[in-house]
Symmetry: C2
């Protein structure tokens, strides 16, 4: 049994991902803020952390890239979740008794098509989908529905009045599993589809250094899939670049470290880091 730190409370989408990856039988540590999850793992209060890094509609959660500069952790797996929103009600309630719906603003927005048929319902925005579910049970609020995960219904003993009520069937979220050690720690992984790597670096001040760096990476056989620029603190308009790459199954972490070292010696990049070399898993 491991201790797993995640953002949110039990029944949240982070908790759903963590159960899918590690199984039910773990010690769960739900946190209000992403930064606490990074700290839990680095300070060994938890063996693993689970954090969302990107949503296919909304984009990157850039604050979680920035946390990597504070703590020295490794990404040990990437996990994808297709967000399935459900309408959750008290077990003594029926859908006809509902006059109010509560959820996170993003979840309410994702279900705007469904809610257009329920115009009489008041909409209350709260900070957490699972928190809305828990509140209904704590208050025995039979007139209120929550929008959240099937897991939240399970955790809090609620009825699911409707399933898959989100507007966009393609909405997915990408999560990273974090640990202190770098390789060989994928306890929950049964279905490895591909291998990826993530790195961060700054470039030299030379014109065209970023293009040079990406060319060298392509020559190493790394297929760059995504790049983000994040500000370097207190140095206006200097950036730290975050790259995700598809790797061949035989590319190893030491090989990537060595390629980055060589780019540093050529003064194309500086302050490079490998955030992880990891398998990819879909539920």
């Amino acid at each position: 049994m491991n201790t797993i730190s995640f953002q949110g409370i039990e029944g949240s989408f982070h908790h759903e991902v963590a159960i899918g990856y590690f199984g039910q039988d773990q010690r769960w540590l739900g946190r209000d803020h992403f930064g606490e999850v990074f700290d839990d793992v680095e300070q060994r209060r938890a063996e693993y952390g689970v954090v969302a890094i990107e949503n296919s509609n909304v984009g990157t959660i850039v604050g979680n890239l920035d946390h990597f500069e504070r703590v020295n952790l490794q990404i040990v797996a990437e996990v994808y979740l297709s967000v399935q929103q459900c309408l959750l009600i008290h077990p003594d309630a029926t859908i006809d008794s509902i006059t109010e719906v509560r959820s996170h603003p993003m979840a309410l927005d994702q279900c705007r098509g469904y809610l257009r048929n329920q115009l009489a319902w008041d909409r209350i925005e709260v900070s957490d989908t699972a928190g809305a579910a828990k509140w209904i049970m704590d208050q025995s609020a039979t007139h209120v529905a929550a929008i959240g995960s099937a897991l939240a219904a399970n955790v809090y003993g609620m009825s699911i009045a409707a399933r898959s009520i989100q507007q966009d069937a393609t909405n997915q979220t990408r999560f990273w599993v974090l640990a202190n050690e770098s390789e060989g720690v994928h306890p929950g992984l049964t279905n490895i589809e591909s291998k990826k790597g993530s790195i961060s670096f700054e470039t030299s001040h030379d014109s065209g250094a970023l293009a040079d760096a990406l060319v060298a990476m392509k020559a190493s056989g790394w297929n760059l899939t995504k790049i983000e620029s994040r500000p370097v603190p207190e140095v206006p308009w200097r950036y730290r670049f975050y790259c995700d790459m598809e790797l061949s199954s035989k590319t190893s972490l030491p090989e990537i470290v060595s390629s980055l070292n060589s780019l540093e010696q050529q003064e194309i990049i500086e302050s490079s880091r490998v955030l992880g070399v990891y398998p990819v898993n879909h539920f």
Copy 2:
């Protein structure tokens, strides 16, 4: 006289930038949301719009990149503002009578060092720095201070009790001036320091297409300074890339369009757009 649409109310940092660029004698159209500024210019309710695109500490305001996909506008200038936060009080107040401070959470955070010496003050978070200033005057609230710009003090007739109280002297924000036409429209520009261009594109599905695209751009003499990946709506994990580039003074917009067309014909990139070729101005 032109009509200038900007985010915020009179006295906001956007208004400060717009006055610096266009001068005082304009028609001002303050808006709650950035999207309205884009719409105002496209629908010709305003000749120009002013929107923040990036802060040197916080990073890019990615929603404003996304707005470019909805509307067909051009960036006609880039303007930098060093954020100077002031403590603003009612002209009948003294600093000793203050028991509460109001501002935007980001402004309160930027002034955390100054506020550490004023622990007895209650802190109230509001959505708008200039709005906090206006509220104090509307309410004749002599016990409340706002954190905001010197311009807000001027607009609302307030006293400046302290200047430059922000923590980080390097904090700058980068703004874009938007218009329908592309070139030759820089009415307020007196001090052109350099020339930049911004483009957006998707890449082909080929491995390494992004590196190929950046190499071709480097060969054209464009110095890539920044790149962002934004999700393509409803196509999970496809990205639209936004690049800012430093250009030589003689690089023209048609030249960039022609280079991008050539990359499209080679099937390296697709759906490319030039967001603007524009001069850079610091206040």
